[in-house]
């Protein structure tokens, strides 16, 4: 376990004891990334703000929901934000309008306009690793993964959009996830 993961665990432990300073530090560490993914999925400022705000409040009100035995805090929290963002998109039935714009999704492996903004080095390093790993995926695998994760689309919808069998969507998705896991574990 790295130093940053240990710090996350310590901060989370203190949040569980109602330590507001620790909460603010976790906020500082993750809010920009959380807001980034919420914006990417929802495409709407106000909804993204609501998603991120609710995710941090959920962390404060039920910190026990994070179980260190099941993985790292960063993964837990950013997944929580992503889940809430996808839920928000679907709940408000904006998916159809978003999918019409799916072809214009910015490439996840592209340049980061906020790269020069000060942020914790460990997130910046990991971001480069994740983007590099995405770049190694065959285009067809990356496409279904991005449509699911960033577009919030179901596999049925992806199959429909791309005109391919749903079995192919499933196969490509799993292959992409497996390859990412192997690549990122090697980092």
């Amino acid at each position: 376990m790295g130093e940053d993961e240990r710090l996350d665990l310590e901060l989370h432990r203190r949040v569980s004891q109602r330590d507001r300073g620790a909460f603010d530090e976790l906020y500082r560490r993750y809010v920009r990334q959380a807001y980034g993914v919420a914006l990417r999925v929802t495409s709407q400022d106000l909804i993204a703000q609501e998603v991120v705000q609710d995710a941090f409040l959920a962390l404060w009100r039920a910190p026990e929901a994070f179980d260190p035995a099941r993985g790292g805090f960063r993964s837990f929290f950013l997944s929580l934000v992503h889940h809430r963002a996808v839920d928000a998109v679907r709940r408000e039935e904006r998916l159809r309008r978003r999918t019409e714009r799916a072809a214009n999704l910015e490439p996840a492996t592209g340049e980061d306009p906020a790269e020069d903004v000060v942020e914790d080095a460990y997130l910046r390093v990991r971001r480069k690793e994740v983007r590099a790993a995405l770049g190694t995926l065959p285009a067809a695998q990356r496409q279904v993964l991005e449509m699911a994760y960033f577009g919030g689309m179901t596999q049925v919808r992806i199959a429909d959009e791309l005109g391919i069998p749903i079995g192919t969507v499933k196969t490509r998705t799993l292959a992409a996830m497996r390859k990412l896991r192997v690549t990122l574990q090697e980092e």
Binding site: R18, V31, R32, Q33, A34, Y35, G36, V37, L39, R40, Q49, E50, Q53, F56, L57, A58, W60, R61, A62, E64, A65, D67, A69, R70, G71, G72, R74, S75, L78, S79, L80, V81, H82, H83, V86, D87, R91, E92, A108, D112, P113, A114, V117, L123, R126, R131, L145, A148, F150, G152, M153, T154, Q155, K170, T173, L174, M177, L180, R181, L184
Partner: protein, 247 residues
């Protein structure tokens, strides 16, 4: 039961990406409750896939939230101990619509210790929920799935101070593992107390009514999966759970 692990892993990949629907979602729920907990390979695979899902968030460019966000969060945190935070109107309308959709659907079952399922009781409970929602001061609250709990299984809590009754409704609720049941908890400032008997969904539907509860004393709700027959002293976090705030 012998399972095809390639197929299972395809479902788990779709599950962690929230991209399953219909029969695939139901099959994933079944696997997560019946197969995965006892299969080392699947537990590892699920953990690996969830780690990748968490990492994928890093592929997006970080963005600066408005400077007002942290003060807003602090304010909401401060409001919790007394009356709780009143939700934003848009969110409330969405939740209210969900609750109405739930009570309007067929096949509702009252789950309150004993399984009461006659049509008259179901209709009566649905009317009580509608009545509670229409009373002044009532607030429908979203009780969101946590961790690996199926994302489509969100619950709705409805309560009104004057009726001193709390209602919880859900559809697409996964069955707890064999020998397990669900427990409702109410919390105040981080302290949780179990409320009412353990319960189970019926055909994925939960319609829970717990009378005699002064909801104004609490600021948060948590529903957790627990071992049946063993009175829990604190909420378990390793299985299905849903959490939300009380407005």
């Amino acid at each position: 039961m012998s399972e095809d692990h390639e197929r299972i892993e395809e479902l788990l990949a779709g599950y962690v990406l929230l991209s399953l629907e219909g029969e695939d979602a139901a099959e994933a729920d079944r696997l997560l409750s019946e197969h995965v907990p006892g299969c080392d390979r699947c537990r590892r695979t699920l953990a690996d896939l969830q780690a990748v899902s968490g990492d994928l968030a890093l592929a997006t460019a970080p963005a600066d939230p408005p400077e007002t966000m942290l003060p807003r969060i602090h304010k909401a945190m401060d409001e919790v101990p007394l009356q709780g935070r009143r939700g934003r109107r848009g969110a409330l309308v969405a939740v209210a619509a969900s609750a109405v959709a739930l009570v309007a659907m067929g096949g509702l079952a009252l789950v309150l210790g004993n399984r009461l399922s006659d049509a008259q009781t179901r209709a009566g409970t649905a009317l009580e929920i509608l009545s509670a929602m229409q009373s002044s001061g009532s607030q429908p609250n979203n009780v969101a799935p946590m961790g690996a709990t199926p994302p489509q299984s969100g619950m709705v809590e409805v309560s009104a101070p004057e009726v001193r009754t709390i209602y919880v409704a859900a559809k697409d609720c996964p069955e707890p593992a064999p020998g397990h049941a669900y427990q409702l908890w109410l919390g105040s400032d981080g302290e949780w107390v179990p409320v009412g008997p353990m319960f189970w969904p019926e055909d994925g539907v939960v319609l829970l009514e717990v009378p005699g509860v002064d909801v104004s004393k609490y600021d948060a709700i948590w529903i957790t999966e627990e071992v049946e027959g063993v009175p829990p002293t604190e909420p378990s976090t390793q299985w299905h759970s849903w959490a939300g705030q009380l407005a």
